[in-house]
């Protein structure tokens, strides 16, 4: 269980983008965090991943306090992150990009090789493009590269920010299908998205953030017609 407890965080001291936000992310479940633009959803993910220091509040992994852990140590805790702009290395090839996901066990060549093959069988499209520089790929393909890279280290939790942004609808379907299968494999997913329909299609639990605070939460059925609730609020 990955949990956020009473988080207050912002970019300038005193300017809190998020106030007293708490969410809980069980392993093997997809948790969606929804809300209007600019409400702080991306900020939440950045804070969890250690890129922002919270002024108050804690981040807990299986009840252990991991607040303040540096981003490059998150992989050791089994937490991976996909920012709004897919974090790929544009001048490296697809294969190099994915392989870098195995940075922590890079000396074990066989393991790298094995995981690469695993990823290629899961994402045949990447195998076809293994030698292309990642920079020429489309938005959807970049997301796939990023996900493949993340999978190299068998994460337990994945924080992903707007997986369908800048991605053509059909490709977005593929991305979400992948997320779904990750969830089924036991990865806990924290999903932030503007695309409510898609998010709801795989979410097990939803938090709605408004003006930096928890507003509503529940399973998709419990929340009912989000569209009206959210827009008129």
């Amino acid at each position: 269980m990955l949990a956020v407890d009473n988080l207050h965080v912002g970019y300038n001291p005193g300017l809190h983008i998020l106030r007293a936000v708490s969410i809980m992310v069980p392993a093997g479940r997809a948790t969606a965090v929804l809300g209007a633009n600019g409400v702080g959803k991306s900020t939440l993910l950045k804070a969890v991943f250690g890129m922002l220091k919270p002024e108050q509040g804690r981040i807990l992994l299986d009840n252990a306090d991991i607040t303040g852990t540096l981003p490059h140590r998150m992989i050791d805790l089994g937490i991976a992150y996909g920012p709004q702009q897919p974090g790929i290395f544009s001048e490296m090839t697809v294969e190099e990009n994915v392989a870098l996901g195995g940075w922590r066990f890079r000396r074990d060549k066989r393991r790298i090789r094995a995981k690469l093959e695993q990823n290629y069988s899961r994402f045949p499209m990447l195998k076809d493009r293994r030698t292309s520089p990642a920079g020429v790929l489309s938005g959807g393909q970049r997301r796939m590269v990023e996900l493949a890279r993340v999978l190299m280290s068998d994460p337990r939790y994945l924080l992903i920010d707007e997986p369908s942004a800048g991605v053509a609808p059909i490709a977005a379907d593929d991305v979400y299908a992948t997320l779904k299968s990750l969830r089924d494999d036991g990865v806990g997913i924290v999903l932030v998205d503007q695309d409510i329909t898609r998010a709801l299609s795989i979410a097990d639990y939803v938090y709605i953030i408004d003006l930096g605070q928890n507003r509503r939460e529940g399973t998709p059925t419990q929340l009912g017609d989000i569209v009206t609730a959210f827009w008129s609020g």
Binding site: M51, H72, I75, M92, W103, R104
Partner: protein, 402 residues
């Protein structure tokens, strides 16, 4: 010189100044983008005088950087070369093409070592966006250390390289760790000012510590490669197809090429190198896969300074190192090259270095007064610097910073 030549010389700058002042004004009143107008006016005015300025003034066309700045610049360069040839008909560069070729060859060879220096600078920059002002000093450090070691040891200079590399690496890492930490950690308000002043200070310290060790500002030159020959190479001059080259220079160039190749191998074929490139492309994504940006910075700085020192170590058997003057000059060369090639680009560093090497060699070789040629060698670098900064600030291969 003929009065016609004098007239030509005076007119160029006059038209250039007129163009640089009047054209932007015209563009502003015509409600068109005046930004490039100054440069374009200056270059077209110098190249073709009123014949180019008049149509621009009247028609006020949309200006493009490549068309209206590069073209007249090239035109102007050709005119200046023609003028030079005309004014100095007995200059050896004009009469003897083989000599020119020889100079070019020398330039390319030295360029390989410049590339090594510049590669170090560009590596540091791509990882942390710091331009190190100690770079020239580390080249000098490599040379002086080699010189001192070879005074007592009777070995071929090549064997000093590992020692120099390790010493420089250690120094570099210590500087990065203790002095530049605030920049890397983001705890300082004005990181760029701090980096400039700090690396400048380290440079002064290093320069005068070296002079102190040597005792006086002197010119050092280590034993030549051919003095303590390896593989029996002891001929001082190599001859090939009518061209002559000093063996020492050739060996130095070969070493430079090997170092550069090793660096490319490191960056493109090893995990460590990939981690450097990853951090330079996307810091956050690198952190996601577990790469520690702080550690990468230390490594990159260490390797960068090691590269500079290796270049110095390779050059000192072939050239005199004027301690401490050469520090500033070498530093300037490195900066010109990385600006020329684009900060962050290894390929750019190589090509920029070769280009600068050739320009310098030709300046030194063709300058009418041979005693001043060596001095103006470095000046040519400044002119190249200026030109690049004005025409294409991101260099030829760099990424344009938005």
């Amino acid at each position: 010189m003929a009065p016609g030549v004098i007239w030509l010389l005076l007119a160029g700058p006059v038209w250039s100044a007129l163009g640089a002042i009047l054209l932007p004004r015209r563009y502003r009143t015509a409600r068109r983008d005046p930004q490039l107008a100054g440069l374009a006016g200056g270059f077209w005015g110098a190249a073709l005088g009123p014949f180019a300025l008049a149509p621009l003034y009247v028609a006020v066309p949309v200006l493009r950087r490549d068309l209206h700045v590069v073209v007249p610049a090239v035109l102007l360069s050709s005119e200046l070369l023609a003028l030079f040839a005309h004014a100095n008909p007995r200059n050896v560069c004009v009469t003897d093409p083989l000599y020119v070729l020889n100079q070019v060859q020398t330039g390319l060879t030295v360029g390989l070592l410049y590339a090594t220096m510049a590669a170090g600078l560009t590596l540091i920059y791509s990882v942390q966006r710091i331009i190190s002002f100690t770079h020239g000093q580390f080249v000098m450090f490599g040379g002086v250390l080699t010189f001192l070691l070879l005074r007592d040891l009777d070995l071929n200079p090549i064997f000093m390289m590992p020692v120099v590399a390790i010493a420089a690496f250690v120094l570099g890492v210590m500087i990065a760790k203790f002095l530049l930490k605030p920049v890397q950690a983001g705890t300082i308000e004005r990181p760029d000012e701090y980096a400039i002043l700090m690396t400048f200070g380290v440079g002064i310290f290093l320069t005068y510590a070296l002079v102190g060790v040597l005792g006086n500002p002197i010119a050092v030159r280590a034993a030549r490669y051919t003095d303590r020959p390896l593989f029996g190479i002891d001929r001082a001059i190599l001859e090939f197809a009518g061209m002559r080259m000093r063996t020492d220079l050739f060996i130095a160039g070969a070493i430079g090429l090997m170092i550069f190749a090793a660096l490319s191998f490191l960056l493109y074929c090893t995990w460590t190198g990939r981690s450097f490139r990853a951090v330079s492309m996307d810091r956050h994504a690198a952190a996601v896969v577990g790469i520690d940006p702080g550690a990468v910075f230390l490594w990159a700085f260490g390797i960068g300074t090691a590269l500079a020192s290796l270049a110095g170590a390779a050059l000192v058997p072939a050239f005199n190192f004027q301690v401490p003057e050469m520090a500033a000059q070498t530093a300037i060369r490195s900066y010109v090259i990385v600006v020329l090639g684009g900060l962050g680009s290894l390929r750019g560093a190589l090509l920029g270095a070769l280009f600068l090497g050739v320009v310098e060699a030709l300046t030194a070789g063709c300058y009418p007064d041979p005693s001043k040629g060596a001095t103006y060698q470095v000046t040519s670098g400044l002119l190249v610097f200026l030109a690049v900064l004005l025409v294409r600030p991101q260099g030829f291969f760099g990424r344009a910073e938005t």
